[in-house]
């Protein structure tokens, strides 16, 4: 572990200054009292006693410790380091998995990762602002400016066009492999001239979090203290949980997370389209078993997210590639009865024949207009599925603790918002920290952090609510509900100003 000197990094102000001074006094003694870590916390070895010299304690103190090297965590690190007000903060980022593959990632010809997200204009704008977007491989980003969404039961459709967003050449969103973003974030962190650099500890798991120790004249008891899998203990003035849906930081802070599981899985895959039609269209059809979305990627590829029952997800993953592609085509084109029937079949030839027969009855003009052109191949090994849930925390903050991204909220992928909401969190938290450092307040103080929560909670709450209602509204074929949602959709479709509002919200404006 690289040691950074504390002097250069901690702002010589307020509480930290006192801590620093106290510790310097302490460090003149040759030894320190031993400190016992017996506070409550997860997975903390109670019997162990930790003896540390103050100097090690000092080098293990951080202004900000970020748990989680996912997109939210890395964006926060890059955001803080890119701001003139916060670039001198001493920051550590702990990630349990290896980041080497993301760091060394470079686009592989004709192969795409199956974890792909749509990045909204607002997220992209923020990533540009903090200098990350320049590192993104542009040839692997696919903007789209047209979105066609329809009801599989009634056929009612809605069409979003980027011109509703106002600007001439606006895009609705940008499809990007998560790895492309992670790579860009890590490269940006690497190149940032920040002093001190962010201490990135990958392959390191946070094994337990407790309250910090108290020395004679140094009280760190309000500082969260993290026990890492490499044996180190680090303490944070502000601990940020960017550690995903099962956030250990959230458990430590005792923050309640509410919500439910959708009893659906999102089946993802990288697909080859019949030809590169250069259409920049995102397609989504709501089936009673869950929405299926096909998002454009460069090189005539597309990214699939098919939300469906766990049983169907298992079935879809077990089929051979040809049969799988046929079912994807069927899910966008055929009637619900045909699709249900095909889902019960396993023989590729039978599936193909049945599909061709039904598909042949569709009007040729609909091809590429009402539904996407055909999928012809699925990239080897790209099929996977993820359980879908909705979670929202009552609060995102506690003294010296903040949660961002999926740690604070998780949502259904039907609106492609999960990652983008996390970006919004990060931008807001960075602003709040910037302001606190400018004012000389303690960045870990709850009152400071409350501003972040107050700004983000209503926005996230509304988005999660809308997505949840949409999910429920469309997960049925009960005729009265289908009737109501069909009329609703047709009304929205005929009112441009309503569409405009919806698109602005979805774009993160």
């Amino acid at each position: 572990m690289k040691l950074c000197t504390l002097r250069a990094t901690l702002p010589v102000r307020g509480r930290v200054f006192r801590t620093y001074a106290a510790c310097r006094r302490l460090s003149s003694k040759s030894t320190l009292e031993t400190v016992t870590g017996t506070q409550s916390g997860i997975a903390f070895d109670n019997s162990a006693t930790i003896s540390q010299t103050c100097s090690t304690t000092m080098s293990n103190l951080y202004d900000v410790v970020i748990v989680g090297g996912g997109i939210s965590g890395l964006t926060l690190a890059a955001g803080l380091k890119s701001s003139p007000y916060t670039s001198n903060l001493k920051i550590a980022l702990v990630e349990s998995m290896s980041l080497a593959s993301a760091k060394n990632w470079s686009p592989e010809n004709d192969r795409y990762s199956n974890r792909v997200s749509s990045i909204t204009p607002a997220s992209r704008c923020y990533l540009s602002q903090i200098g990350v977007w320049d590192y993104v491989y542009a040839e692997r980003v696919q903007p789209y400016d047209d979105m066609r969404v329809w009801d599989g039961v009634s056929g009612a459709r809605i069409h979003f066009d980027a011109f509703h967003l106002g600007a001439e050449d606006a895009s609705i969103a940008f499809m990007t492999e998560n790895l492309n973003l992670q790579h860009a974030l890590l490269s940006r962190l690497n190149d940032l001239p920040a002093d001190p650099p962010v201490m990135v500890l990958d392959n390191t798991k946070v094994e337990g979090i407790t309250e910090g120790p108290t020395f004679d004249d140094l009280d760190l008891s309000s500082w969260p203290s993290l026990k890492l899998s490499n044996g180190d203990i680090i303490m944070a003035r502000l601990l940020v949980g960017a550690d995903g849906v099962n956030s250990p930081v959230r458990s430590f802070a005792n923050i309640k997370s509410r919500g439910w599981d959708y009893r659906q899985e999102g089946v993802v895959a990288v697909l080859d389209m019949e030809w590169d039609d250069r259409q920049r269209i995102a397609w989504q059809r709501f089936l009673p078993s869950g929405p299926i979305a096909l998002l454009p990627m460069p090189d005539g590829k597309a990214s699939l997210v098919w939300s469906t029952s766990p049983k169907h997800a298992t079935h879809l993953k077990s089929l051979n590639g040809g049969a799988f592609c046929t079912l994807v085509n069927a899910a966008f084109r055929l009637g619900m009865v045909d699709l249900q029937y095909l889902m019960t079949r396993v023989d590729e030839e039978e599936i193909t024949q049945e599909f061709e027969w039904r598909d042949g009855r569709l009007p040729i003009e609909a091809e590429g207009q009402q539904f996407p052109i055909r999928v012809v191949e699925v990239q080897e090994g790209s099929r996977a599925s993820f359980p879908l849930k909705m979670r929202h925390c009552d609060t995102y903050v506690a003294p010296r603790i903040a949660l961002v991204g999926d740690a604070a909220h998780t949502t259904h992928p039907l609106a492609g918002q999960g990652l983008n909401l996390g970006q919004g969190d990060v931008a807001s938290l960075v602003r709040v920290i910037e302001q606190a450092t400018q004012e000389g307040s303690d960045i870990g103080h709850e009152i400071v952090l409350q501003q972040y929560w107050a700004e983000r909670y209503p926005i996230n709450h509304m988005m999660l609510g809308v997505i949840d209602k949409l999910q429920k509204l469309y997960c049925t074929d009960f005729p009265p509900i289908v009737g109501i949602r069909t009329i609703g959709l047709e009304v929205v479709e005929s009112l441009d100003w309503v569409k405009k509002i919806i698109m602005k919200q979805a774009a993160g404006a």
């Binding site: 009637g335 009865v337 045909d338 029937y341 027969w357 009855r361 047709e490 009304v491 005929s494 009112l495």
Partner: protein
């Protein structure tokens, strides 16, 4: 800019569609496109005439098509699409005619087979597979075939249930078919036709045949999914069991008993 209000509500659009008659083109050979008012007119006319002259099969057929609500026809079609055999029928589009079914050959089949029972049925009642009219007024091409198929299979339903073609048998079978297919005309026939019967006959329908028809029609597997052409040599009772149909009491036997008692 186009006026927006009329397109907001689907119901408004529907009305507009109903009012403007701009000679839609045929969806299949023999199709006569009609709008909703023309259908109502056809239904009323054919309904009244066939009520007074129930032997007019062509009028009953027209009544059947004019009242075939798309929703219910689609439901029946979907029942076929959910079943491997039903799908095969929709794909093959078999027609039952004297060319596709050789009645004289069927008469040489063993006594208990579907083919023999069907052929004897046709012979006894003096009808032929070709007496069935072509569907003209159903707009959806696939639903039109479903109606055609129902119509052509009707004699097989007689054969498998053993109900006679005399008016009471016909009415009971209509009720059975209604419970099984939900084709509106079958229900209309089953409700209205008894008005012309004698009280004794009505009584028998109400106490014996309608309960049988409703129970069996509703619990039996969809008869529309039976590929009759392929099971001509199967045992009637076996097929009945497989479909979940109990044999009804024989009307003629009942009648004979009543006469002998007098």
């Amino acid at each position: 800019m186009r006026p927006r209000i009329p397109t907001i509500l689907p119901s408004v659009r529907l009305l507009k569609r109903g009012y403007t008659y701009n000679a839609p083109s045929a969806n299949y050979p023999g199709h006569v496109p009609t709008n909703i008012f023309q259908k109502l007119f056809l239904a009323a006319g054919s309904g009244i005439y066939s009520f007074f002259d129930p032997k007019r099969a062509d009028l009953i057929a027209t009544l059947g098509e004019a009242t075939a609500v798309p929703f219910l026809m689609k439901r029946l079609r979907d029942q076929m699409l959910s079943d491997p055999t039903g799908r095969r029928i929709l794909r093959d589009r078999p027609r039952i005619t004297s060319a596709s079914i050789r009645v004289d050959q069927l008469l040489s089949y063993p006594e208990n087979t579907i083919g023999r029972t069907y052929a004897e049925w046709l012979k006894r009642e003096g009808v032929s597979p070709d007496t069935r009219a072509r569907v003209r007024y159903i707009d959806d091409e696939e639903c039109a075939y479903v109606m055609q198929r129902y119509r052509e299979c009707h004699d097989f339903y007689h054969a498998i249930t053993g109900l006679p073609i005399i008016i009471e048998g016909e009415i009971s079978l209509k009720m059975f078919e209604f419970a099984n297919t939900l084709i509106p005309m079958t229900g209309i026939g089953a409700i209205l036709a008894p008005l012309r019967l004698k009280p004794k006959q009505r009584e028998r329908l109400r106490t014996i045949y309608f309960p049988w028809a409703i129970k069996n029609g509703a619990t039996a597997r969809p008869l529309i999914n039976v590929y009759w052409e392929e099971i001509l040599d199967c045992d009637v009772q076996e097929v009945r069991d497989e479909l979940g149909i109990e044999k009804p009491p024989d009307l003629r036997e009942l009648r004979k008993k009543r006469i002998s008692r007098l």
